[in-house]
Amino acid sequence: MKATIDVPDGLYRRVKARSALEGRSVRDVTVLLFERWLDESPGLAEALADAGRPSAGTSWLKRWDAIGARVDAAATDDRTTRDILVADRK
């Protein structure tokens, strides 16, 4: 079945970019999310009661910090990542 839905521009761009990064089509991602949502629907109340949990901002910061720690650990260049970025701009 074909369905037409209106998605905010910014959201669609992010979905498309991440789908490309993971080598998936937007259609495949959409179907996957629909299936997961249907499977998890008994947990909707739990999701709605999310207020007491760490905010999206806090979770994102932890994720970013963890990536940074792995970057530092895997570094083969003595310069900081910012030094490399700034040098690339010159």
């Binding site: 970019a17 901002g57 994102w60 910061l61 990536i67 970057v71 083969t76 900081t80 701009r89």
Partner: protein, 142 residues
């Protein structure tokens, strides 16, 4: 509304960067607020390139890209023909480096404050857009 220079994003993720504390404090305040974050797609490329060049790990660079796309409040704007023309005009007018012009043009187009650790973009772009350091932005939030 803000636009975040990639220099801040990578500074916040590196324990050896002298600006890490300032960058982390700023990012924490920014992502926990409701302020929209207008980013050029170039910021994704710059962060991925710098991480990959530092580590040689393409998977880690791609993880960082995915994380940036998931940043709360982020709106990523493509560098299409129109945006490129605007960035070119900004580069020509302010004699900015190419990447700096893309950030300044993004901030100009979306009326956002450009937050950066880079003194050159700060001094040159401030005639056209609101440009501040992370500490200055934090001070404004009270």
């Amino acid at each position: 509304m803000i636009t975040i220079d990639a220099s801040i994003l990578v500074a916040a993720a590196s324990r050896t960067d002298v600006a890490r504390s300032e960058a982390v404090a700023f990012l924490a305040a920014a992502v926990k607020s409701d302020v929209p974050i207008h980013q050029p797609t170039l910021s994704l490329v710059e962060v991925a390139a710098a991480i990959s060049r530092r580590t040689g790990d393409d998977g880690l660079a791609q993880e960082a890209t995915s994380a940036l796309l998931a940043m709360p409040g982020v709106l990523v704007h493509p560098l299409d023909l129109e945006a490129s023309a605007e960035a070119a005009a900004v580069a020509a007018r302010l004699q900015l480096r190419g990447a700096d012009a893309v950030y300044a043009a993004t901030a100009l187009a979306h009326r956002s404050t450009l937050v950066t650790l880079d003194d050159e973009i700060r001094s040159r772009a401030s005639v056209l857009v609101d440009v501040v350091t992370p500490s200055e932005w934090l001070s404004r939030q009270g």
